[in-house]
Amino acid sequence: MKKEYLSIKKADGPLIFLEGVKEAKYGEILEITVDGEKRIGKIVQIDEAFIAVQVFQGTSGISTLNTSVRFTGKSFELSLSKNILGRIFNGIGQPVDGGGPIYSKEKFNINGRPINPVARAYPKNYINTGISTIDVLMTLIRGQKLPIFSGNGLPHKELAAQIVNQAKITGAEGERFAVCFAGIGITRDEGAYFIDKFEKNNSMQNVVIFLNFADDPVAERNSAPRCALTAAEYLAHNEGMHILVVISDMTNYCEGLREISSAREEVPSRKGYPGYLYSDLASLYERAGMIKGQQGSITLLPILTMPNDDITHPIPDLTGYITEGQIVLSRELFNSNINPPISILPSLSRLMKDSIGEGYTREDHAPLSNQLISSYAKVQETRALTQIIGEEDLSEEDKKYMEFGRQFENSFVNQGFTENRELDESLDLGWRILSILPKEALDRIDEKMIEKYYGK
C-alpha cells in the first residue's frame, strides 16, 4: 500500500516541500489533494531532510495543513492509443475538448529514452513545403529538427501553418502523416489561430494538440512538449506514421524552466537560466529522428521568439547547437513587406547536403542553392557600399548585383503565405533570377550546369 502524507512543510513558487518521507523515487508522480481538489506533482529533488515536489497545476491555495499527498510509485506516464488523433489535451495530457479520457493498456513515460545512435537511420527524404526559400536553400528533411527563430510580432505562426498545410513527403505516397502540436505558454488567440487553421484545412482528424496557455501553471510548460513528443513517438514508432511536431513557443518553455530553477535555488548560469538548459533542451529536440528498419519518422519544427531579436541570447544559441540548422525570420524583410520574411544568410539546413541533387531532387539543386546564397551575400556588401556612394556610382557588375538582390527578395523570397510552389518551379525561378548576373560571376557552379540552365 502506498503511503499518504497529510501535511506539507513549505510551499514556494511552483514547489512544495515534504519532510520525514521514508520512501520516495526520483521523478515519482504524486497525487496531491488540496481541499478535495486533485493535482499532480513530481519529485524533483530528494534530500536527507526533505523532498521537493513540482506541482503541475500550480501551488495557489495550498497551505501546510489543507494538503495531503499520496505517493504513486510511478513515473509520469501517458496512456496512448490511436484515438488521440483529433483530440485536444492540456499540458499534462488530460483531455480538454470535452471528449472522454484515452483508455489504453499501453502507458508511456513522458521523458522517453535516448535513441541509441547505432539504431538511428540517417534522414534522407526531403519534405516539400512548397516554400521556395525553404525547399531550395534550407531543405527540410524527414526526421530533422529545424527550428524557426522568430521575433515578437513576426509572422512565425503563419509560416508554421503554411508548412503544416503544404508539407508533402516525397516518396511517401499512401503513407500516413499527422501533426502533433504543442502550444507552450501561448495566448488563447494564438491557440485559436492554429486550431482554426487545422480545421480549415480539414486536417483536424490528423492532429493531436497539447495546449498550455500563457495563464496556465508554469510547471505544465515543462510537461507539455514532453507529452506531445511522447504522443509523436507512439504514432511514429508504434503506428509507423510520419509525424511533424510543431512546438510554439520554446522561449516560454525556457522561461518556465528558469522560474522553477530559481524556486529551487539553483546556481544560475547565463542570464539566470539553469546550467542544464542545454541538456534539457537536447532531451526534447533529440527525440526527433528515424529508427533503422522502421517506417515512421518524427520531424520537429520548434518555434522560438528571440528576446530582443538577439540570436546570441542563450535560448536561440543553445537551440542552434542542438538542432540541424535553423530558419531565421528577419524584421527588416517583414517591414519591407516581404513574406515569409526568411532571412537567407543566417538560415541553414544541415541535413540537406545528402538529400538533394540527382536521385533526390534535381542535379542542379546543390550548386544553385550555394550560388544563390553566396551571390546574395555579395549583394549585402554592395548595398553597404551604396549607402555611402549611391547606386549611380556603382560599377556595372555591382549594379547587376543590386538588381539581382531586388528580384531575389521580391519574387523568390516574397511568395506570401498561401502560394504553394512545386520544387521545379522554385528551382527554375532561382535560375531565372541568377541569370541577371553575368556567367563569370557564377563561381559555385560547374560550367556544364551553367550551359544547361543559365538564361533558360
Binding site: P114, P117, V118, Y122, I291, G320
Partner: protein, 590 residues
Amino acid sequence: MSTNEGNIIYINGPVVKGKGMESFKLREMVLVGNHQLIGEVISVNDDIGIIQVYEETEGLSINEKIAGLGQPFSVTLGPGMIGNIFDGIGRPLSRIDEINKDFIPEGIGLLSMDKNAEWKVSFTLSKGDYLKEGMSFAEIQETQLVNHLLMSKPGIEGKIVEIKGNGIYRFGDVLGKVEDHQGNSHELKMYHRWPVRVKRPTKKRLKISKLLLTGQRILDVFFPIAKGGTAAIPGGFGTGKTVTQHQLAKWSDADIIVYIGCGERGNEMADVLNEFPKLVDPKSGRPIMDRTILIANTSNMPIAAREASIYTGITMAEYYRDMGYHVAVMADSTSRWAEALREISGRLEEMPAEEGYPAYLSSRLAEFYERAGYFETLSNKEGSVTIIGAVSPPGGDFSEPVTENTKRYANVFLALDSKLAHAKHFPSINWLNSYSGYLETLSIWYDENVNEEILSNRNKMMSLLQEESKLLDIVQLVGEDVLPDSQRLTLNIARVLKKGFLQQNAFHKEDASVPLDKQSEMLNLIVHLYDKAKKCIDAGIPISSVNNIQLYDEVIRMKYNIPNDNLEGIKLLETKIDSYHDDLIKKYAR
C-alpha cells in the same frame, strides 16, 4: 566482491549522495541502487560520499544501496575497438542495442567487447622470455590497417612462465602467465583494464617534428597541425566545426582516429556511421572505418557520461599510441564537456567562477590537452596522440571561459567565422584570427619533404591578406575605384587566393582532399601570378589592362579542373600567365 556499501540519502539529477561511505575511495567506481546504475565517487566527506551517476537516475529511491567496486573508473582495452562505437563510459553501443532495441535503457551494467569474439593470435615471445612492462608478447591483425599488439599492462612485468601457441583464441581466454620479482603470477589476456583519468606511461616525450597531413589547404599550408600537437577549432553554430572535424577524420594521415561525439547531435553520429564505412582511405584503399574508433554521447544521453567521454577517448588513443601508431583524437565539442562539468558542479553547489563554470575548468582542460604529445613508448616505438578539440562558444563570442582557457593549452587555433560561413566560404577559418604555433618547428620538415619556397610563399600571401583586410575597410567607405592600381591588384589577387586556394569544397571529388605537392604548386602559381602582375603595374601599365578576369577564373578553377594526380595543367597555366603578362609588357614598352 567488495564489502563497501552505503545508502542513498540525496538525489538531484545525476548527483547522488550516500551515507555510510567512510571506506569508499575518491574516483572509485560504484553501482547505485537496485538497478545497479554505474557511477563514480567524486567527493568524500566524513561518511557522506557524493557520486556522479552515468545513467538516468529517474526511479532511483532513497535508502537504496550503493556498492563500491574497489577500483577506479576504467575501460577495457583490447582488440575489437577499431570500427566500433562506444558510449561515454566505453560500452559498445551495438551490444546495448542487442540488449534493448533502439533505445538506451538504464541499469544494464558494465559491458565491454564480446568475451566470445575470436581472434587469430601470433605470439612473438616464448616461455622463459622476460616481458617488460608495456612490451608486446603477441599480435593480432585487428583490421587490414591495424596490427594490434598485445602488451603487458604497464606496471606488470616478469618472466613468462606459461604461454599458448599461435592459434585462434577468444577475447576472454588466458594466453599466458608471467611471474614477477616477488614471485607473483599475473595472467596475460588479450585485454587489460586501465583507469581513464590516469595517463598511460611512456618512456619519454620526443620533440614534435612531423606535419599531420590533412589534405586541407588552409591547414597544411597556412595553419599546420603537428603530429602530437594540440589544436582548437572554435566557432558559433553553423560555422562548420563538425564538417571540419569530419574532414580531418576522413583525410588526415593519422594511423588511427578516435572521434568523440561529445554532447552533439544523434543524426550527426548516424551520418558518421552511415558515411565512414563507405569512404576509402586514400593511403591504403581500405574503408576509413578500419582505422576509426567512435565514441558517442549525444546531447540527450546522460550528462555525467559526457564528462567521462573525453577521458575514455583519450585513454583508447593512448593505448594505440603505445603500439607505435600516430593517433588523432577529435573531440566535438569540448564546450559540451565543460558544460557537463558546470552542470555537475552546480548541482554540488560549488562556488562558481566565471559564467558559472567551476574554478577548476582551466586545470581540467590542461590535463586533457597535455595528454597529447609525440612519445617514445615503453616498447621503444614512436607514437603520438594529436588532440583536435572543437569549441562551441555561446553566441560565437571567443572571449568566453572555455575558448579563453583552451587558447592557453592548444597550440593551433582555427577560428571559424560566421561571416565567412554565411557567404558559403568554407572552411570558414578566419585567416586573420587563426594561428599555428608549429610553423617554426615544422619548417625543417617542410624543407625536407616539400620544398623551400612553400613557407616563404605562405608568408608572402599572409601579408597580402593582412593588407587586403585594411584595404577592405577603405573600400567599404569610398569604393574600390579610388585606390591606386597596386592596391587594387592586392585586392584582386587576394580574391583569387581566397576563392582558388583557401576555399575548399568538402563535397567535391577532386577538392575534398588535396595532396601536398598540388597544394604547393597551386600556391606557387598564385604567387607567380601576383609577381607577374605586380611587375606590369610597376611598369606603369593600368590595372584595367592587367586584369584578366578569364585568366583569374581559370586559376580559381584549377582546384576542380586539374586532377590531383596529374599536375601538368598547372604548368600550362603558368605558361599562360607568363605569355599574357610578357606580351603586355612588350606592348606597353613600345
